[in-house]
């Protein structure tokens, strides 16, 4: 298990840990916008940059890297708040604020970094999407890939194919829930759900009447796991009740 020095503090982490994990373990505050535990790091937002020096390098030679996807090594020295690291984060936030001037999360982060208003040209069509790619990555991760990035560069956006209701979407809401700025909107009720312009039928727990999952998602899970679709329609409350009954029976037996 490699030992690193982060902001002067020694910290030991697993060999397969990321530099970000090491920094956080050492108590350093490294902000991120496109990182999410369980998803492969992406390195797009550049907020998690740190200064890093390998044991074999000259003491004063540091390289700026993104900590989310950088491997750890024995004897690494890391500085998470050097002047150039902070300056880079500030410009990144300043740029994001120009893109998303009305987005509370970005306003908040910018303020924390001393930026009240963007220095750059304000986006004439403000958006909440920061293009962190979390939605498409989580969608890929669960094996659906209903949405993707479209176009490139400044014109890049997240959309379903042909900007029409995505045929592959199962209405699981993972994209909306992972979105850090609340850009992806949806409506859901005990009967139906709508996201990306696609309508879904909800499966209701036959005992409690609660709507727990879309039919499409239950079928997707059933197909992937081999468990019957009916398993997924039970609400948590139903499952707890069943569990309680099982325990009751066990008590009786005793």
């Amino acid at each position: 298990m490699p030992t690193l020095t982060v902001n002067g503090r020694k910290v030991t982490v697993d060999a397969d840990a990321s530099l970000l994990e090491a920094c956080r373990k050492a108590g350093a505050d490294v902000p991120t916008l496109c990182n999410f535990d369980g998803l492969e790091p992406w390195g797009g937002c550049r907020m998690c940059v740190v200064d890093m020096s390998l044991a074999s390098w000259d003491d004063d030679w540091f390289k700026m890297v993104t900590s989310c996807n950088h491997p750890v090594e024995e004897g690494m020295t890391v500085v998470t708040d050097s002047e150039r690291v902070l300056a880079t984060r500030r410009v990144v936030l300043d740029l994001l604020l120009a893109r998303c001037p009305d987005t509370p999360l970005i306003q908040q982060l910018a303020r924390e970094h001393g930026i009240e208003a963007t220095s750059y040209e304000r986006n004439p069509e403000p958006t909440d999407c920061i293009l962190c790619g979390l939605c498409t990555r989580v969608c890929d991760h669960i094996g659906i890939s209903a949405i993707s990035s479209v176009g490139r560069g400044w014109g890049r956006e997240i959309a379903p194919p042909f900007n029409e209701p995505p045929p592959d979407c199962v209405g699981c809401l993972a994209c909306a829930e992972i979105c850090p700025t609340g850009h992806i909107t949806f409506t859901t009720s005990s009967l139906s759900r709508t996201i990306w312009g696609k309508d879904f039928e909800m499966l209701r727990d036959e005992k409690t009447g609660e709507a727990v999952i879309t039919r499409a998602q239950a079928e997707h899970f059933a197909k992937r796991s081999g468990v019957p679709a009916s398993y997924f329609e039970k609400s948590d409350r139903s499952k707890r009740r069943e569990l309680a009954k099982t325990f009751e029976k066990l008590q009786v037996l005793k």
Partner: protein
């Protein structure tokens, strides 16, 4: 015939040489993209027709060969008559019977078709006497223009696959690696990483399956050496890759060719098919037991795919988004397997390095940059085209001796190297010897060898804006500094060229540049500020003029520039014909006038005026005049 042993290969070489030497005369017609555009195909067909009609092919043992690019594209179509190496430029099909009659049969030189040296105004008879060619040393481009790229036998007669035969028959993979190390060759794609070190690092990676890739995504605007190599001598690329694969123990290769190079794709496909048929690619090459095959992957039109990780994603059928390279592609590259990616020119040099020895290559060039380097010399220079020179040649020699100086003998201003990742080198650095380190020190880079010469009629703010606009369109959009930073920087430049520049803009540009250099994910974003910073470094006063005086000193930025006609005008009407908005009026042989309200400041009149009697002035001066 399939070659199944080294002896058979030697016999094939001998046969090819005999065929080549038996031709007492050869007519080489350049059929590169440039010459084809100028009608070279019709010229080649006219020769074939004329010769068949006169029955000269049997009588004189004459051969007509359609070759790859001779590099002198501006003068195309080019025709070379061997063995004298007489070079005819701008040949039209109707001149063909004349050429056959007088030169091919009669041995007489047709003066009017010869190249005229722009400086001495002298007609020059042969290829080797022309300064453009005389000063070159060709390694990667050794056979371009000399062979028919679609004829394997012709290539073999000129040495193709001799390096591969030498490696497979008498060298161990490690010996091949050692020889490449001795050559000191560094990557010809831009960054200049040592070829041998890259190969060794891949070879050390775990796993049995590995790939060799060829980067033919020559995206730098202003560079076309890789296109010419792929079109004109595709076998040199295949040979290099096969040698590399042998050294690394790889059996699969991909050539990634950009979509904009259709002829390169065709010629590579033909070359691969021919090489496979002859047993020079595929299973058991030359009976050595070594297997290697190559596939072509056509790019979809994205500059960022020249970046290694984006290129590999693109070959895998995905969008060209780079990834962090904290784990090198030599360990985890294409399909997450160990991969060596080299540029076209790098691969093309390998065969020659093995055949002639690494020491031969290392004897050319400078201490740290060995060998020769191909450049595309273009822009406002008299002789534009493709050249290959030893590393360390001075910019002055390249631009003035080979390039023949600046068009219309205007003053030189800067030379842009390295494409959008490079920078502009000013006049005071003209004596700079060109190698990787020297260009980087000057704030530019080698890149893929584009050299774009700029004269005083080039605005450096406009040039920087041009590259920003290019990159804004080409950024993949994955990381914030590149995607958003380029967009904002371009907005500042738009303001500068339109006269809306404000104090503090330069500082804003510098802050953004620092963030992009440090914070961007890949080299596209990291190097994007180079054109900006180099023009700021050497031409800061031009920026200040745009901001403070609202004037473009070069008279290029339209919103700031007005045109007027001076007393020297002889009323030739040339300008009235080219003016797109009919803003110029005046009777023939009398002084003309420009209507400033109708003029869109395009500069067409200035470019065409034979008496140089059109001048530019800042628009603000015009306004001041009206006030007075």
């Amino acid at each position: 015939m399939r070659i199944e042993s080294f002896d058979q290969f030697a016999a094939f070489q001998a046969e090819a040489t005999v065929r080549d030497e038996s031709r007492s005369r050869k007519i080489l017609v350049c059929c590169g993209t440039g010459c084809l555009a100028n009608g070279a195909k019709a010229v080649a067909e006219a020769f074939a027709h004329e010769i068949a009609e006169r029955g000269l092919d049997t009588e004189l043992k004459l051969g007509v060969t359609s070759t790859g690019c001779h590099g002198f594209c501006e003068r195309g179509p080019l025709v070379v008559i061997q063995p004298e190496a007489i070079l005819y430029t701008k040949v039209k099909p109707r001149r063909v019977p004349d050429i056959v009659e007088k030169t091919v049969i009669g041995g007489e030189v047709i003066n009017g078709l010869l190249y005229k040296d722009p400086s001495s105004k002298q007609r020059i008879e042969t290829y080797d006497e022309i300064p453009f060619y005389a000063n070159q040393v060709r390694v990667a481009m050794r056979n371009i223009g000399r062979i028919d790229p679609t004829d394997l036998m012709d290539a073999v007669a000129h040495g193709a696959y001799a390096g591969l035969a030498k490696a497979l028959s008498g060298m161990s993979p490690d010996e091949v690696l050692d020889e490449v190390e001795v050559s000191g060759q560094r990557g010809r794609g831009g960054a200049g990483f040592s070829t041998a070190r890259k190969w060794r690092s891949c070879k050390a990676a775990a796993g049995d399956r590995r790939f060799v890739l060829c980067n033919g995504d020559e995206g730098d605007p202003g560079a076309f050496k890789d296109r010419s190599i792929m079109e004109g001598d595709p076998h040199s690329v295949l040979e290099g890759m096969a040698i590399g694969a042998y050294a690394l123990g790889a059996h699969e290769g991909f050539i990634y060719v950009r979509d904009e190079y259709p002829l390169a794709v065709v010629n590579l496909q033909l070359a691969i098919a021919e090489a496979r048929k002859a047993g020079l690619l595929g299973e058991n090459i030359m009976g050595s037991g070594f297997d290697f095959d190559v596939k072509i992957s056509r790019g979809g039109g994205a500059f960022v795919c020249g970046e290694s990780s984006a290129l590999m994603r693109s070959i895998a059928g995905k969008t060209g988004e780079p990834r962090a390279k904290y784990v090198h592609s030599t360990a985890k590259g294409l399909f997450d397997l160990p991969t060596v990616l080299n540029n076209v020119e790098t691969w093309a040099g390998i065969g020659a390095i093995i055949a002639n020895g690494g020491a031969w290559f290392a004897s050319m060039g400078t201490e740290k940059s060995k060998g020769t380097k191909a450049f595309s010399l273009v822009g406002k220079v008299k002789n534009t085209g493709l050249i290959e020179l030893p590393m360390g040649t001075s910019l002055r020699h390249i631009i003035y001796d080979i390039g023949g100086g600046i068009l219309k003998d205007r003053p030189f201003k800067a030379v842009q190297t390295g494409g959008p990742s490079g920078g502009c080198v000013p006049e005071e650095l003209l004596d700079l010897p060109v190698d990787y380190e020297k260009l980087t020190e000057a704030g530019s880079m080698m890149g893929s060898g584009g050299m774009i010469v700029m004269d005083d009629r080039t605005c450096m703010v406009d040039v920087a804006r041009y590259f920003l606009a290019f990159l804004t369109e080409e950024s993949c959009g994955k990381c914030v500094p590149c995607r958003e930073g380029l967009k904002q920087m371009l907005a500042i430049y738009d303001a500068l060229v339109e006269g809306r520049g404000r104090e503090g803009d330069i500082e804003k540009i510098e802050t953004l540049a620092a963030c992009m250099q440090l914070g961007s994910l890949c080299e596209l974003g990291k190097s994007a500020p180079n054109p900006v910073l180099s023009t700021l470094k050497y031409f800061r006063s031009e920026y200040q003029a745009h901001i403070e005086a609202k004037a473009c000193p070069a008279g290029i930025c339209r919103a700031l520039t007005a045109f007027e006609i001076t007393e020297d005008c002889d009323g030739c009407h040339a300008c009235t014909k080219v003016c797109p908005t009919d803003a110029i009026s005046g009777e023939k042989k009398k002084l003309h006038v420009i209507d400033h309200d109708a003029c869109i400041s395009c500069g067409a009149c200035l470019d065409i005026c034979p008496t140089e009697s059109i001048r530019t002035l800042p628009k603000v001066e015009l306004a001041q005049r009206e006030v007075v």
